[in-house]
Subunit: 263 residues, 2 copies
Protein backbone atom coordinates (compact mmCIF):
# COMPACT_ATOMS: atom_id res chain seq x y z
CA UNK A 1 0.00 0.00 0.00
CA UNK A 2 1.56 3.23 -1.15
CA UNK A 3 0.35 6.65 -0.17
CA UNK A 4 0.68 8.42 -3.53
CA UNK A 5 0.71 11.94 -2.18
CA UNK A 6 1.97 13.25 -5.49
CA UNK A 7 -1.19 12.28 -7.36
CA UNK A 8 -3.70 11.03 -4.88
CA UNK A 9 -6.89 9.98 -6.64
CA UNK A 10 -10.09 11.53 -5.37
CA UNK A 11 -12.46 8.83 -4.12
CA UNK A 12 -16.15 9.50 -3.44
CA UNK A 13 -17.70 7.03 -1.00
CA UNK A 14 -21.37 6.35 -0.31
CA UNK A 15 -23.61 3.45 0.76
CA UNK A 16 -27.26 2.62 1.35
CA UNK A 17 -27.16 1.47 4.96
CA UNK A 18 -26.49 5.03 6.10
CA UNK A 19 -23.39 6.92 7.17
CA UNK A 20 -23.39 5.33 10.63
CA UNK A 21 -23.32 1.72 9.38
CA UNK A 22 -20.35 -0.49 10.14
CA UNK A 23 -19.82 -1.42 6.48
CA UNK A 24 -19.00 2.10 5.27
CA UNK A 25 -16.64 2.68 8.22
CA UNK A 26 -14.76 -0.53 7.43
CA UNK A 27 -14.63 0.45 3.76
CA UNK A 28 -13.14 3.89 4.40
CA UNK A 29 -10.63 2.44 6.85
CA UNK A 30 -9.53 -0.04 4.18
CA UNK A 31 -9.25 2.34 1.21
CA UNK A 32 -8.13 5.67 2.65
CA UNK A 33 -4.43 4.87 2.04
CA UNK A 34 -5.12 4.95 -1.70
CA UNK A 35 -6.42 8.48 -2.10
CA UNK A 36 -8.31 11.49 -0.85
CA UNK A 37 -11.58 10.14 0.50
CA UNK A 38 -14.78 12.19 0.53
CA UNK A 39 -17.85 10.53 2.07
CA UNK A 40 -21.33 11.67 1.04
CA UNK A 41 -23.76 9.15 2.45
CA UNK A 42 -27.41 8.94 3.52
CA UNK A 43 -28.21 10.12 7.05
CA UNK A 44 -30.42 7.06 7.56
CA UNK A 45 -30.80 3.55 6.10
CA UNK A 46 -31.87 3.53 2.44
CA UNK A 47 -31.85 -0.19 1.71
CA UNK A 48 -33.95 -1.32 -1.23
CA UNK A 49 -34.06 2.18 -2.70
CA UNK A 50 -32.61 1.03 -6.03
CA UNK A 51 -31.74 3.96 -8.31
CA UNK A 52 -34.47 6.19 -6.81
CA UNK A 53 -34.06 9.96 -6.84
CA UNK A 54 -35.92 12.45 -4.67
CA UNK A 55 -38.20 14.65 -6.77
CA UNK A 56 -40.89 15.65 -4.26
CA UNK A 57 -38.77 17.00 -1.41
CA UNK A 58 -35.65 19.12 -1.11
CA UNK A 59 -32.33 17.63 -0.04
CA UNK A 60 -30.28 18.70 2.95
CA UNK A 61 -26.70 17.87 3.75
CA UNK A 62 -24.29 18.72 6.53
CA UNK A 63 -20.73 18.01 7.58
CA UNK A 64 -20.32 14.80 9.56
CA UNK A 65 -17.41 13.42 11.56
CA UNK A 66 -15.92 10.32 9.98
CA UNK A 67 -12.68 8.56 10.99
CA UNK A 68 -10.15 8.13 8.19
CA UNK A 69 -12.09 10.27 5.68
CA UNK A 70 -10.70 13.58 4.44
CA UNK A 71 -14.21 15.04 4.45
CA UNK A 72 -17.65 13.62 5.15
CA UNK A 73 -21.24 14.76 4.72
CA UNK A 74 -24.55 13.18 5.61
CA UNK A 75 -27.43 13.80 3.24
CA UNK A 76 -31.19 13.33 3.57
CA UNK A 77 -31.56 11.69 0.14
CA UNK A 78 -31.18 8.31 -1.48
CA UNK A 79 -27.78 6.87 -2.46
CA UNK A 80 -28.27 8.17 -6.03
CA UNK A 81 -29.14 11.60 -4.64
CA UNK A 82 -25.91 11.48 -2.64
CA UNK A 83 -23.87 10.90 -5.79
CA UNK A 84 -25.68 13.66 -7.69
CA UNK A 85 -25.36 16.27 -4.94
CA UNK A 86 -21.73 15.26 -4.35
CA UNK A 87 -20.88 15.70 -8.03
CA UNK A 88 -22.82 18.91 -8.62
CA UNK A 89 -22.75 20.72 -5.25
CA UNK A 90 -20.23 19.37 -2.78
CA UNK A 91 -17.06 18.38 -4.64
CA UNK A 92 -14.93 20.90 -6.44
CA UNK A 93 -13.67 18.39 -9.00
CA UNK A 94 -14.91 15.16 -10.52
CA UNK A 95 -13.88 12.13 -8.45
CA UNK A 96 -11.55 9.60 -10.05
CA UNK A 97 -13.45 6.73 -8.47
CA UNK A 98 -16.74 6.14 -6.70
CA UNK A 99 -17.05 3.35 -4.14
CA UNK A 100 -20.35 2.31 -2.58
CA UNK A 101 -20.72 0.02 0.39
CA UNK A 102 -19.70 -2.15 2.00
CA UNK A 103 -23.33 -3.22 1.90
CA UNK A 104 -24.77 -5.35 4.68
CA UNK A 105 -26.27 -8.11 2.50
CA UNK A 106 -25.95 -9.61 -0.95
CA UNK A 107 -26.41 -7.63 -4.15
CA UNK A 108 -25.83 -10.57 -6.46
CA UNK A 109 -28.28 -11.76 -9.12
CA UNK A 110 -31.46 -9.65 -9.40
CA UNK A 111 -30.71 -8.01 -6.07
CA UNK A 112 -28.64 -5.52 -8.04
CA UNK A 113 -31.92 -4.06 -9.30
CA UNK A 114 -33.29 -3.34 -5.81
CA UNK A 115 -30.00 -2.19 -4.35
CA UNK A 116 -29.34 1.38 -3.29
CA UNK A 117 -25.65 0.51 -3.05
CA UNK A 118 -25.58 -0.44 -6.71
CA UNK A 119 -27.95 2.40 -7.67
CA UNK A 120 -25.26 4.80 -6.44
CA UNK A 121 -22.49 2.95 -8.28
CA UNK A 122 -24.53 2.93 -11.49
CA UNK A 123 -25.18 6.67 -11.08
CA UNK A 124 -21.43 7.13 -11.12
CA UNK A 125 -21.18 4.96 -14.23
CA UNK A 126 -23.78 7.11 -16.03
CA UNK A 127 -21.40 10.02 -15.59
CA UNK A 128 -18.48 7.96 -16.89
CA UNK A 129 -16.82 7.67 -13.48
CA UNK A 130 -15.39 4.24 -12.61
CA UNK A 131 -17.57 2.93 -9.80
CA UNK A 132 -17.50 -0.10 -7.54
CA UNK A 133 -20.17 -1.44 -5.21
CA UNK A 134 -19.02 -3.82 -2.48
CA UNK A 135 -21.42 -6.09 -0.62
CA UNK A 136 -20.93 -8.64 2.14
CA UNK A 137 -23.23 -11.64 2.28
CA UNK A 138 -24.48 -10.90 5.79
CA UNK A 139 -27.35 -8.67 6.90
CA UNK A 140 -25.94 -8.57 10.44
CA UNK A 141 -25.40 -4.94 11.48
CA UNK A 142 -22.29 -6.05 13.39
CA UNK A 143 -21.04 -8.53 10.77
CA UNK A 144 -17.36 -9.41 10.51
CA UNK A 145 -16.02 -7.24 7.67
CA UNK A 146 -12.42 -8.45 7.90
CA UNK A 147 -12.39 -10.38 4.63
CA UNK A 148 -14.65 -7.90 2.84
CA UNK A 149 -12.43 -4.96 3.80
CA UNK A 150 -9.26 -6.89 2.92
CA UNK A 151 -10.47 -7.74 -0.58
CA UNK A 152 -12.11 -4.33 -1.11
CA UNK A 153 -8.65 -2.83 -0.59
CA UNK A 154 -7.08 -5.23 -3.09
CA UNK A 155 -9.74 -4.60 -5.75
CA UNK A 156 -9.64 -0.84 -5.17
CA UNK A 157 -5.83 -0.69 -5.41
CA UNK A 158 -5.86 -2.74 -8.60
CA UNK A 159 -8.55 -0.48 -10.10
CA UNK A 160 -6.66 2.70 -9.17
CA UNK A 161 -3.50 1.32 -10.78
CA UNK A 162 -5.39 1.19 -14.09
CA UNK A 163 -7.46 4.40 -13.92
CA UNK A 164 -7.67 5.79 -17.43
CA UNK A 165 -7.51 2.40 -19.13
CA UNK A 166 -10.09 0.33 -17.30
CA UNK A 167 -11.99 -2.32 -19.26
CA UNK A 168 -15.12 -1.54 -17.19
CA UNK A 169 -16.99 1.42 -15.82
CA UNK A 170 -18.88 -0.28 -12.98
CA UNK A 171 -18.34 -3.37 -10.85
CA UNK A 172 -20.74 -5.19 -8.53
CA UNK A 173 -18.54 -7.05 -6.04
CA UNK A 174 -20.13 -9.58 -3.69
CA UNK A 175 -18.08 -11.17 -0.93
CA UNK A 176 -18.96 -14.31 1.05
CA UNK A 177 -19.07 -13.90 4.83
CA UNK A 178 -16.08 -16.15 5.50
CA UNK A 179 -12.69 -15.78 7.15
CA UNK A 180 -10.03 -14.43 4.75
CA UNK A 181 -8.25 -17.78 4.42
CA UNK A 182 -11.46 -19.57 3.47
CA UNK A 183 -12.12 -17.31 0.47
CA UNK A 184 -11.21 -19.45 -2.54
CA UNK A 185 -10.50 -16.63 -4.97
CA UNK A 186 -11.91 -13.74 -6.99
CA UNK A 187 -13.87 -14.44 -10.18
CA UNK A 188 -15.26 -12.10 -12.84
CA UNK A 189 -18.66 -13.56 -13.67
CA UNK A 190 -22.13 -12.86 -15.00
CA UNK A 191 -25.37 -12.16 -13.13
CA UNK A 192 -27.42 -15.29 -12.48
CA UNK A 193 -31.12 -15.55 -13.22
CA UNK A 194 -33.14 -15.52 -10.04
CA UNK A 195 -36.28 -14.16 -8.43
CA UNK A 196 -37.72 -13.55 -4.99
CA UNK A 197 -40.76 -15.65 -4.16
CA UNK A 198 -42.53 -13.25 -1.84
CA UNK A 199 -44.46 -14.08 1.28
CA UNK A 200 -46.41 -11.04 2.41
CA UNK A 201 -46.92 -11.50 6.13
CA UNK A 202 -50.31 -10.15 7.18
CA UNK A 203 -50.98 -8.32 10.42
CA UNK A 204 -53.83 -6.13 11.65
CA UNK A 205 -53.85 -2.56 12.84
CA UNK A 206 -54.55 -2.61 16.60
CA UNK A 207 -57.34 -0.01 16.38
CA UNK A 208 -59.07 -0.16 13.03
CA UNK A 209 -58.29 -3.84 12.41
CA UNK A 210 -57.34 -3.19 8.80
CA UNK A 211 -54.86 -5.73 7.43
CA UNK A 212 -51.37 -4.66 6.44
CA UNK A 213 -48.58 -6.63 4.83
CA UNK A 214 -44.83 -6.95 5.38
CA UNK A 215 -42.77 -7.79 2.32
CA UNK A 216 -40.73 -10.88 3.06
CA UNK A 217 -39.52 -13.54 0.70
CA UNK A 218 -37.02 -16.12 -0.31
CA UNK A 219 -34.53 -15.90 -3.14
CA UNK A 220 -34.75 -18.64 -5.77
CA UNK A 221 -31.83 -19.33 -8.08
CA UNK A 222 -33.32 -20.09 -11.50
CA UNK A 223 -30.17 -21.67 -12.89
CA UNK A 224 -28.52 -23.67 -10.09
CA UNK A 225 -26.74 -25.90 -12.61
CA UNK A 226 -24.88 -23.03 -14.28
CA UNK A 227 -21.35 -22.76 -12.92
CA UNK A 228 -20.45 -19.40 -14.52
CA UNK A 229 -22.71 -17.18 -12.40
CA UNK A 230 -22.27 -14.90 -9.40
CA UNK A 231 -24.62 -17.05 -7.34
CA UNK A 232 -22.72 -20.27 -7.99
CA UNK A 233 -19.36 -18.72 -7.17
CA UNK A 234 -20.63 -17.12 -3.96
CA UNK A 235 -22.19 -20.41 -2.88
CA UNK A 236 -18.80 -22.03 -3.43
CA UNK A 237 -16.65 -19.60 -1.47
CA UNK A 238 -15.52 -17.21 -4.20
CA UNK A 239 -15.78 -13.45 -4.42
CA UNK A 240 -17.99 -12.64 -7.44
CA UNK A 241 -17.27 -9.55 -9.53
CA UNK A 242 -19.95 -8.61 -12.05
CA UNK A 243 -19.06 -5.89 -14.56
CA UNK A 244 -22.20 -3.77 -14.87
CA UNK A 245 -23.67 -1.79 -17.75
CA UNK A 246 -26.26 0.99 -17.54
CA UNK A 247 -27.52 0.06 -21.01
CA UNK A 248 -30.65 -2.01 -20.32
CA UNK A 249 -31.19 -2.90 -23.99
CA UNK A 250 -31.84 -6.58 -24.68
CA UNK A 251 -29.91 -6.76 -27.97
CA UNK A 252 -30.96 -10.33 -28.76
CA UNK A 253 -34.60 -9.31 -28.49
CA UNK A 254 -33.91 -6.18 -30.53
CA UNK A 255 -32.45 -8.25 -33.36
CA UNK A 256 -35.24 -10.81 -33.11
CA UNK A 257 -37.99 -8.19 -33.22
CA UNK A 258 -36.44 -6.40 -36.16
CA UNK A 259 -35.76 -9.74 -37.88
CA UNK A 260 -39.40 -10.68 -37.49
CA UNK A 261 -40.47 -7.25 -38.75
CA UNK A 262 -42.64 -6.39 -35.77
CA UNK A 263 -43.19 -2.79 -36.86
Amino acid sequence: MEDNTTSRPLILVTNDDGIFAKGIKELVKAIHPFGEVVVVAPDKPQSGKSHAVTLDAPLWYMVSKFDDADRAYKCTGTPSDCIKIALYRIMDRKPDLIISGINHGSNSSVNILYSGTMGAAMEGAIHGIPSIGFSLLSFNSDADFAAAAHFAAIITEKTISRLGSLPFVCLNVNIPCLPIDEIKGIKVVRQSKGEWIEDFVRNYHPSNKRPYYWLTGEYHDLEPDSHDTDTWHLDNGYIAIQPVTVDCTDYKALDAMNGEGWF
Copy 2:
Protein backbone atom coordinates in the same frame (compact mmCIF):
# COMPACT_ATOMS: atom_id res chain seq x y z
CA MET B 1 -60.48 -5.08 -31.72
CA GLU B 2 -61.96 -8.40 -30.65
CA ASP B 3 -63.25 -9.20 -27.22
CA ASN B 4 -61.85 -12.73 -26.83
CA THR B 5 -64.22 -13.82 -24.11
CA THR B 6 -63.28 -17.45 -24.67
CA SER B 7 -59.65 -16.96 -23.57
CA ARG B 8 -59.30 -13.48 -22.27
CA PRO B 9 -55.73 -12.82 -21.15
CA LEU B 10 -55.29 -11.51 -17.63
CA ILE B 11 -53.60 -8.10 -17.70
CA LEU B 12 -52.11 -6.49 -14.59
CA VAL B 13 -51.80 -2.71 -14.84
CA THR B 14 -49.78 -0.33 -12.70
CA ASN B 15 -47.95 3.00 -13.03
CA ASP B 16 -45.81 5.40 -11.02
CA ASP B 17 -47.86 8.58 -11.25
CA GLY B 18 -50.49 7.07 -8.98
CA ILE B 19 -53.88 5.48 -9.56
CA PHE B 20 -55.58 8.85 -10.05
CA ALA B 21 -53.29 10.01 -12.88
CA LYS B 22 -54.69 10.60 -16.35
CA GLY B 23 -52.15 8.31 -18.01
CA ILE B 24 -53.28 5.11 -16.30
CA LYS B 25 -56.95 5.92 -16.96
CA GLU B 26 -56.24 6.42 -20.66
CA LEU B 27 -54.22 3.20 -20.72
CA VAL B 28 -56.97 1.08 -19.19
CA LYS B 29 -59.57 2.62 -21.49
CA ALA B 30 -57.38 1.70 -24.47
CA ILE B 31 -56.52 -1.87 -23.52
CA HIS B 32 -59.54 -3.24 -21.66
CA PRO B 33 -61.04 -4.72 -24.85
CA PHE B 34 -58.10 -7.15 -25.02
CA GLY B 35 -58.47 -8.93 -21.71
CA GLU B 36 -59.43 -9.00 -18.06
CA VAL B 37 -57.80 -5.93 -16.54
CA VAL B 38 -56.74 -5.78 -12.90
CA VAL B 39 -55.24 -2.48 -11.70
CA VAL B 40 -52.89 -2.45 -8.70
CA ALA B 41 -51.34 1.00 -8.58
CA PRO B 42 -49.77 3.36 -6.05
CA ASP B 43 -52.19 5.52 -4.02
CA LYS B 44 -49.93 8.55 -4.60
CA PRO B 45 -47.27 9.69 -7.09
CA GLN B 46 -44.13 7.53 -7.04
CA SER B 47 -42.11 9.14 -9.82
CA GLY B 48 -38.38 8.57 -9.72
CA LYS B 49 -38.75 5.57 -7.43
CA SER B 50 -36.89 3.28 -9.83
CA HIS B 51 -37.06 -0.38 -8.77
CA ALA B 52 -37.33 0.51 -5.06
CA VAL B 53 -39.11 -1.84 -2.68
CA THR B 54 -40.49 -0.97 0.76
CA LEU B 55 -38.57 -2.79 3.49
CA ASP B 56 -39.05 -0.50 6.48
CA ALA B 57 -42.83 -0.11 6.50
CA PRO B 58 -45.80 -2.39 5.93
CA LEU B 59 -47.93 -2.13 2.81
CA TRP B 60 -51.66 -1.47 2.72
CA TYR B 61 -54.03 -1.91 -0.17
CA MET B 62 -57.72 -1.40 -0.71
CA VAL B 63 -60.30 -1.69 -3.45
CA SER B 64 -60.60 1.38 -5.65
CA LYS B 65 -63.16 2.41 -8.23
CA PHE B 66 -61.72 2.46 -11.73
CA ASP B 67 -63.63 2.89 -14.99
CA ASP B 68 -63.10 0.11 -17.54
CA ALA B 69 -61.07 -2.12 -15.15
CA ASP B 70 -62.43 -5.46 -13.99
CA ARG B 71 -60.92 -4.87 -10.55
CA ALA B 72 -58.72 -2.14 -9.10
CA TYR B 73 -56.72 -1.64 -5.93
CA LYS B 74 -54.67 1.24 -4.62
CA CYS B 75 -51.57 0.39 -2.64
CA THR B 76 -49.32 2.42 -0.35
CA GLY B 77 -46.10 1.08 -1.88
CA THR B 78 -43.83 1.73 -4.83
CA PRO B 79 -44.63 0.47 -8.34
CA SER B 80 -42.44 -2.61 -7.75
CA ASP B 81 -44.26 -3.25 -4.45
CA CYS B 82 -47.54 -3.07 -6.38
CA ILE B 83 -46.39 -5.81 -8.76
CA LYS B 84 -45.13 -7.99 -5.92
CA ILE B 85 -48.26 -7.68 -3.79
CA ALA B 86 -50.45 -8.17 -6.86
CA LEU B 87 -48.63 -11.38 -7.81
CA TYR B 88 -48.37 -12.85 -4.31
CA ARG B 89 -51.45 -11.53 -2.45
CA ILE B 90 -54.11 -10.04 -4.70
CA MET B 91 -54.36 -12.08 -7.90
CA ASP B 92 -55.45 -15.68 -7.89
CA ARG B 93 -53.46 -16.55 -11.00
CA LYS B 94 -50.36 -15.27 -12.71
CA PRO B 95 -51.14 -12.48 -15.19
CA ASP B 96 -50.42 -13.11 -18.85
CA LEU B 97 -49.17 -9.58 -19.32
CA ILE B 98 -48.14 -6.62 -17.16
CA ILE B 99 -48.57 -3.09 -18.45
CA SER B 100 -47.19 -0.03 -16.67
CA GLY B 101 -48.05 3.55 -17.51
CA ILE B 102 -48.88 5.52 -19.45
CA ASN B 103 -46.18 7.54 -17.73
CA HIS B 104 -46.31 11.33 -17.77
CA GLY B 105 -42.79 11.98 -19.08
CA SER B 106 -40.02 10.26 -21.00
CA ASN B 107 -38.38 7.04 -19.86
CA SER B 108 -35.95 6.85 -22.76
CA SER B 109 -32.17 6.66 -22.42
CA VAL B 110 -30.91 6.55 -18.80
CA ASN B 111 -34.31 7.66 -17.55
CA ILE B 112 -35.26 3.98 -17.55
CA LEU B 113 -33.00 3.59 -14.50
CA TYR B 114 -34.83 6.22 -12.44
CA SER B 115 -38.30 5.24 -13.60
CA GLY B 116 -40.87 3.68 -11.32
CA THR B 117 -42.92 2.83 -14.41
CA MET B 118 -40.07 0.75 -15.78
CA GLY B 119 -39.15 -0.59 -12.33
CA ALA B 120 -42.60 -2.19 -12.26
CA ALA B 121 -42.27 -3.57 -15.79
CA MET B 122 -38.84 -5.00 -14.98
CA GLU B 123 -40.26 -6.59 -11.82
CA GLY B 124 -42.70 -8.42 -14.07
CA ALA B 125 -39.84 -9.48 -16.34
CA ILE B 126 -37.91 -10.92 -13.36
CA HIS B 127 -40.85 -13.26 -12.84
CA GLY B 128 -40.87 -14.18 -16.52
CA ILE B 129 -44.09 -12.29 -17.25
CA PRO B 130 -44.16 -10.28 -20.50
CA SER B 131 -44.22 -6.65 -19.43
CA ILE B 132 -44.55 -3.33 -21.20
CA GLY B 133 -43.98 0.18 -19.92
CA PHE B 134 -45.56 3.01 -21.90
CA SER B 135 -44.44 6.63 -21.53
CA LEU B 136 -45.59 9.85 -23.17
CA LEU B 137 -43.04 12.60 -23.71
CA SER B 138 -44.98 15.17 -21.68
CA PHE B 139 -44.89 15.85 -17.94
CA ASN B 140 -48.20 17.74 -18.19
CA SER B 141 -50.73 16.16 -15.80
CA ASP B 142 -53.46 16.89 -18.37
CA ALA B 143 -51.42 15.95 -21.45
CA ASP B 144 -53.12 14.76 -24.63
CA PHE B 145 -52.89 10.96 -24.51
CA ALA B 146 -54.73 10.35 -27.80
CA ALA B 147 -51.73 9.13 -29.78
CA ALA B 148 -50.16 7.34 -26.80
CA ALA B 149 -53.37 5.43 -26.06
CA HIS B 150 -53.89 4.64 -29.74
CA PHE B 151 -50.43 3.13 -30.16
CA ALA B 152 -50.47 1.47 -26.72
CA ALA B 153 -53.54 -0.44 -27.92
CA ILE B 154 -51.80 -1.47 -31.16
CA ILE B 155 -48.64 -2.64 -29.37
CA THR B 156 -50.64 -4.43 -26.65
CA GLU B 157 -52.84 -6.23 -29.20
CA LYS B 158 -49.80 -7.32 -31.21
CA THR B 159 -48.07 -8.58 -28.04
CA ILE B 160 -51.16 -10.52 -26.93
CA SER B 161 -51.39 -12.16 -30.35
CA ARG B 162 -47.95 -13.67 -29.74
CA LEU B 163 -48.15 -14.54 -26.03
CA GLY B 164 -46.18 -17.74 -25.52
CA SER B 165 -43.73 -17.07 -28.34
CA LEU B 166 -42.57 -13.53 -27.73
CA PRO B 167 -38.99 -12.61 -28.66
CA PHE B 168 -38.83 -10.31 -25.61
CA VAL B 169 -39.84 -10.27 -21.98
CA CYS B 170 -39.93 -6.51 -21.39
CA LEU B 171 -40.46 -3.44 -23.56
CA ASN B 172 -39.83 0.21 -22.80
CA VAL B 173 -42.11 2.15 -25.16
CA ASN B 174 -41.70 5.92 -25.45
CA ILE B 175 -44.17 7.96 -27.47
CA PRO B 176 -43.70 11.52 -28.72
CA CYS B 177 -46.36 14.01 -27.67
CA LEU B 178 -47.71 14.56 -31.19
CA PRO B 179 -51.05 14.14 -32.94
CA ILE B 180 -51.58 10.58 -34.24
CA ASP B 181 -51.06 11.53 -37.89
CA GLU B 182 -47.73 13.21 -37.12
CA ILE B 183 -46.21 10.04 -35.62
CA LYS B 184 -43.85 8.77 -38.32
CA GLY B 185 -43.77 5.13 -37.23
CA ILE B 186 -42.73 2.63 -34.59
CA LYS B 187 -39.08 1.56 -34.33
CA VAL B 188 -37.40 -1.10 -32.21
CA VAL B 189 -34.16 0.53 -31.08
CA ARG B 190 -31.45 0.61 -28.45
CA GLN B 191 -31.04 2.86 -25.42
CA SER B 192 -28.96 5.96 -26.10
CA LYS B 193 -26.10 7.09 -23.91
CA GLY B 194 -27.05 10.17 -21.95
CA GLU B 195 -26.81 11.81 -18.55
CA TRP B 196 -28.53 14.48 -16.51
CA ILE B 197 -26.39 17.52 -15.76
CA GLU B 198 -27.88 18.51 -12.44
CA ASP B 199 -28.49 21.99 -11.15
CA PHE B 200 -29.33 21.85 -7.46
CA VAL B 201 -31.37 24.96 -6.77
CA ARG B 202 -30.58 26.31 -3.30
CA ASN B 203 -33.14 27.82 -0.97
CA TYR B 204 -33.15 28.60 2.75
CA HIS B 205 -35.43 27.41 5.50
CA PRO B 206 -37.53 30.39 6.64
CA SER B 207 -36.78 29.88 10.34
CA ASN B 208 -33.39 28.30 10.82
CA LYS B 209 -31.90 29.66 7.57
CA ARG B 210 -30.29 26.34 6.73
CA PRO B 211 -29.81 25.82 2.98
CA TYR B 212 -31.69 23.07 1.18
CA TYR B 213 -31.48 21.92 -2.42
CA TRP B 214 -33.98 20.96 -5.10
CA LEU B 215 -32.81 18.43 -7.65
CA THR B 216 -33.30 19.88 -11.11
CA GLY B 217 -31.31 19.24 -14.23
CA GLU B 218 -31.08 19.01 -17.97
CA TYR B 219 -30.76 15.84 -20.02
CA HIS B 220 -27.71 15.64 -22.28
CA ASP B 221 -27.62 13.21 -25.18
CA LEU B 222 -24.07 11.83 -25.31
CA GLU B 223 -24.39 10.45 -28.84
CA PRO B 224 -26.48 12.92 -30.86
CA ASP B 225 -24.93 11.69 -34.13
CA SER B 226 -26.10 8.08 -33.65
CA HIS B 227 -29.27 7.45 -35.63
CA ASP B 228 -30.10 4.03 -34.15
CA THR B 229 -31.09 5.19 -30.65
CA ASP B 230 -34.33 5.81 -28.80
CA THR B 231 -33.42 9.48 -28.33
CA TRP B 232 -32.81 10.09 -32.03
CA HIS B 233 -36.05 8.41 -33.08
CA LEU B 234 -38.11 10.27 -30.49
CA ASP B 235 -36.56 13.57 -31.56
CA ASN B 236 -37.58 12.72 -35.12
CA GLY B 237 -41.20 11.83 -34.50
CA TYR B 238 -41.02 8.06 -34.08
CA ILE B 239 -42.25 5.85 -31.27
CA ALA B 240 -39.19 4.15 -29.75
CA ILE B 241 -39.47 0.60 -28.43
CA GLN B 242 -36.50 -0.63 -26.39
CA PRO B 243 -36.46 -4.34 -25.53
CA VAL B 244 -35.21 -4.50 -21.94
CA THR B 245 -33.17 -7.07 -20.05
CA VAL B 246 -32.87 -7.46 -16.28
CA ASP B 247 -29.35 -8.87 -16.71
CA CYS B 248 -27.08 -5.92 -15.92
CA THR B 249 -23.89 -7.77 -16.85
CA ASP B 250 -21.50 -5.89 -19.15
CA TYR B 251 -20.38 -8.91 -21.19
CA LYS B 252 -17.73 -6.98 -23.14
CA ALA B 253 -16.12 -5.87 -19.89
CA LEU B 254 -16.43 -9.40 -18.51
CA ASP B 255 -14.55 -10.84 -21.49
CA ALA B 256 -11.97 -8.04 -21.35
CA MET B 257 -11.29 -8.49 -17.65
CA ASN B 258 -10.97 -12.25 -17.95
CA GLY B 259 -8.84 -11.84 -21.09
CA GLU B 260 -6.52 -9.51 -19.20
CA GLY B 261 -6.41 -11.94 -16.27
CA TRP B 262 -7.48 -9.43 -13.65
CA PHE B 263 -7.86 -12.05 -10.92
